[in-house]
């Protein structure tokens, strides 16, 4: 995904800029013509809270400003820069691209998450980018529960030029994954992407089902999966903590993808999650088109969060 075509960055920026617009307006309104006194700091803290950073992280970031800038006149630009730096420092630790080891064939990527977070769309986008990069890709349509999920993935498969292994409705997902791995090996595919049914992390039976998929996969290929991506919706609030923790503990997550950052949701909970779980963030989604899946860049995310342009 590094071979960005012209216009992609503009697309990303416009997507993220919308996310940041409200926050930016707020910061500007607070500090343009005033001292950074206690009231101003409280309002800054409030603004971070409205970006879903959570109470603890918001307090912490404002505490930094209080230590260094208390009662000083400060421009909007300075405040933004300081806040962005704070966020970027936390996020930089988790900015890690998803690297595909070419020695592993097929490189198996399992994609999980709660319902409606954007797993199928993310897989479609990933498949497209890998095929464009000259890789041979097989997709396992492991969401055998949701009506027409298989058809949705097949359309993405056609768009991307990737073969989709699908079973009957309500078929056993674990069995299907086994078949898909078999197919990927026979085709000597480079990458196997596995879609799974959306599930709320507090449903023990559905989590057990996912663990079974994992067991069957490991039986067929002990080193697999080589990556487990948890897809988070940017509109999610503090429940993202529970999602990350439960999926990590029960399935083992190697990295995050945050989708739907083209709305007004800022996905600030990612900062809190980075600080707490040290979980790599690979991609962000900023639109419905295939090229709208972008590598996660900590500085850009942080800057966009507070409305800073380059």
């Amino acid at each position: 995904m590094s071979d960005a075509k012209p216009g992609l960055f503009a697309r990303l920026k416009s997507g993220l800029a919308r996310s940041a617009q409200r926050l930016t307006d707020g910061i500007a309104a607070i500090v343009t013509r005033r001292k950074l006194d206690e009231a101003a700091l409280t309002e800054l803290e409030d603004l971070l809270i409205t970006a879903d950073l959570g109470l603890a992280v918001s307090k912490e970031m404002v505490a930094g400003l209080r230590r260094t800038r208390f009662n000083q006149e400060a421009s909007t630009e300075e405040i933004r820069t300081t806040l962005a730096e704070g966020a970027a420092n936390i996020l930089r630790r988790v900015e890690k691209p998803l690297t595909i080891d070419p020695a592993i064939k097929p490189f198996v990527i399992l994609v999980i998450g709660v319902n409606g977070s954007g797993k199928t769309t993310t897989i479609g986008k990933l498949a497209k980018s890998y095929v464009d990069a000259g890789k041979k890709v097989v997709i396992a349509a492991g969401d055998t529960f949701r009506a027409a999920a298989v058809e949705q993935l097949k359309i993405w498969g056609e768009r991307a030029g990737a073969f989709v292994v699908a079973g009957a409705a309500n078929a056993d997902a674990a069995g299907l994954v086994f078949d898909a791995l078999d197919r990927a090996r026979k085709d000597s595919a480079d990458i196997l992407l596995i879609d799974t049914a959306g599930r709320l992390h507090n449903k023990s039976d559905l989590m057990a089902e996912l663990q079974k998929v994992l067991r069957v996969l490991k039986k067929a290929e002990p080193t697999a999966p080589h990556a487990v991506l948890l897809v988070l919706d940017a509109t999610v609030g503090q429940n993202a903590h529970a999602q990350v923790q439960t999926f990590r503990d029960m399935i083992g997550v190697t990295g995050l993808v945050m989708t739907k950052l083209d709305g007004t949701a800022k996905g600030g909970v990612l900062v809190a999650i980075a600080e707490k779980y040290d979980m790599p963030v690979h991609y962000i989604g900023v639109g419905e088109a295939a090229e709208d899946l972008r590598p996660f860049v900590a500085v850009d995310f942080a800057k966009s969060l507070v409305g800073l342009e380059d």
């Binding site: 409200r22 097949k154 507090n202 509109t235 999610v236 503090q238 007004t264």
Partner: protein, 456 residues
């Protein structure tokens, strides 16, 4: 991190009680705790401020200051105010008093659950209101979205508008209305594509659909997991499209559901329904007190009771009660009980709804209660002969070995099950002495494996 308000107040008032009477400063301290609790529950900040002001106005009065138990009093004021703010008389009710077909339009962000909710609503109107419902998908953006609705429609035995390739949303909506009129449908449910509330083009499109079909109800479908953005999206949809109600989805998750309060507050529209599961019958009338309890971190007791009522077969229960009275509770009855616990979402599902969620959850993971245990125990019992089920005393070592082999378990597991059964049978004998009332009071706990010891 997410301590419920209950815990917070206990700590706070432990400190306060030492000081005697509750001062205004104490109320301020309590309000700070409420603010934190609401923010952690994802209630949007502007709504939190408004809410806290409302509660303060009620709390800084004679009631709290005079109260014997300030903690209880404040929690009650907060809870009542929350129920009042969330609540609505129109929960579970749709306005169907219009010229048929009455148009119900579903709108919302991508992935909020519109298509599933459309099918659930169609089922509800068909089963409960005996209405003839037509479903139509206007989602031409997401691949296979129209097909998804068609499949779901079939599952709930409701007609869906045949899909015409490449037809645009407004045209589909007009055709649906036309079919609805000609073929005498009572209700037409329009499932629109997911859209961002700031996507100018798509918002214009949904406004055009609205103008073409004049919906009687426009329902905003929103995820209970939503964070601070709930206010922005609800406000935009209310302003740009105009909504008549909200459907809160994924209430079966473990989010605190603060988005409900945010959206209710900024739109002024009632929350009419909530989605409580993946199955197509899992759509319920919104219950303010349930969500209020969750937002405050006080558990969802009402939900637990309802789920029990829904899943425990009445006749079965009565038969069981009679058997208990006679003291003839056998292993077949135990198997039936295990099945019912599983139907209620397993131990995890039941525990998750109890008050003091966090504490119980911690205990649950520490106790390592294995959900598969219920299934294994059922397997053990079904590997027994009729005689063995009726009279477990005949189970000698060789029979136990046979059952272990037959059920894919082990002899120690069978021993454990029989011990549990014995404990329960003993307990029932004791309860018979307490009489019917005692039985009702202790019923559920006695039915849990291990006699409910884990919770105490």
């Amino acid at each position: 991190m997410f301590d419920g308000l209950g815990n917070r107040f206990n700590d706070l008032f432990d400190r306060l009680r030492r000081h005697g009477a509750l001062t205004e400063a104490d109320v301020d301290a309590a309000m700070r705790e409420i603010r934190v609790a609401l923010l952690e529950a994802d209630v949007a900040l502007p709504v939190v401020k408004q809410f806290v002001d409302g509660v303060r106005a009620k709390a800084v009065g004679q009631d709290v200051l005079r109260s014997v138990s300030p903690a209880q009093m404040v929690v009650k004021i907060v809870h009542d105010h929350l129920v009042e703010t969330l609540g609505s008389d129109s929960a579970g009710a749709l306005n169907l008093n219009a010229v048929p077909p009455v148009v119900v339009m579903m709108v919302g962000l991508q992935g909020s659950g519109k298509t599933t909710t459309s099918a659930k609503l169609a089922r509800l109107l068909k089963e409960r209101e005996k209405r003839k419902v037509l479903l139509a998908s206007l989602d031409v953006n997401r691949p296979a979205a129209q097909e998804q609705l068609a499949i779901l429609a079939k599952q709930v035995n409701v007609t869906s508008l045949p899909v015409v390739a490449l037809e645009r949303p407004v045209a589909i909506a007009k055709r649906a209305l036309d079919v609805g009129r000609r073929e005498g449908y009572d209700v037409l449910i329009l499932d629109t594509a997911g859209r961002l509330h700031i996507d100018e083009m798509l918002m214009q499109e949904v406004a055009a659909v609205r103008d073409a079909t004049q919906p009687t109800e426009t329902l905003l479908v929103a995820d209970a997991l939503t964070g601070q953005d709930a206010v922005n999206l609800a406000k935009s949809f209310a302003e740009r499209v105009g909504i008549t109600g909200i459907v809160l989805t994924r209430v079966d998750g473990d989010s605190r559901g603060g988005a409900a309060l945010s959206m209710r507050a900024v739109t002024g529209q009632p929350i009419k329904f909530m989605g409580t599961g993946e199955k197509l019958d899992a759509l319920e009338a919104f219950q303010a007190s349930r969500i209020a309890g969750r937002i405050l971190g006080m558990g969802d007791v009402v939900g637990l009771v309802e789920k029990a009522a829904e899943n425990i077969d009445r006749e079965e229960a009565e038969k069981l009660a009679k058997k208990m009275q006679k003291g003839s509770f056998d292993l077949d009855d135990l198997a039936g009980q295990l099945k019912q616990i599983r139907k209620m979402g397993g131990m995890g599902g039941i525990m998750g709804m109890l008050p003091g969620i966090n504490k119980v959850k911690k205990q649950l993971s520490e106790a390592k209660i294995d959900e598969s245990m219920l299934k294994r125990q059922e397997a053990i019992i079904s590997s027994m002969t009729k005689t063995e089920k009726r009279n477990p005393k005949v189970l000698d070592a060789s029979r136990r070995r046979r059952i272990a082999a037959g059920s894919g378990t082990s002899v120690p597991e069978i021993n454990r099950l029989l011990k549990q059964y014995q404990d329960m049978a003993d307990m029932m004998k004791r309860m018979n002495k307490l009489g019917q009332k005692g039985l009702q009071r202790h019923g559920i706990q006695a039915l849990l494996p291990g006699g409910g010891r884990q919770q105490h």
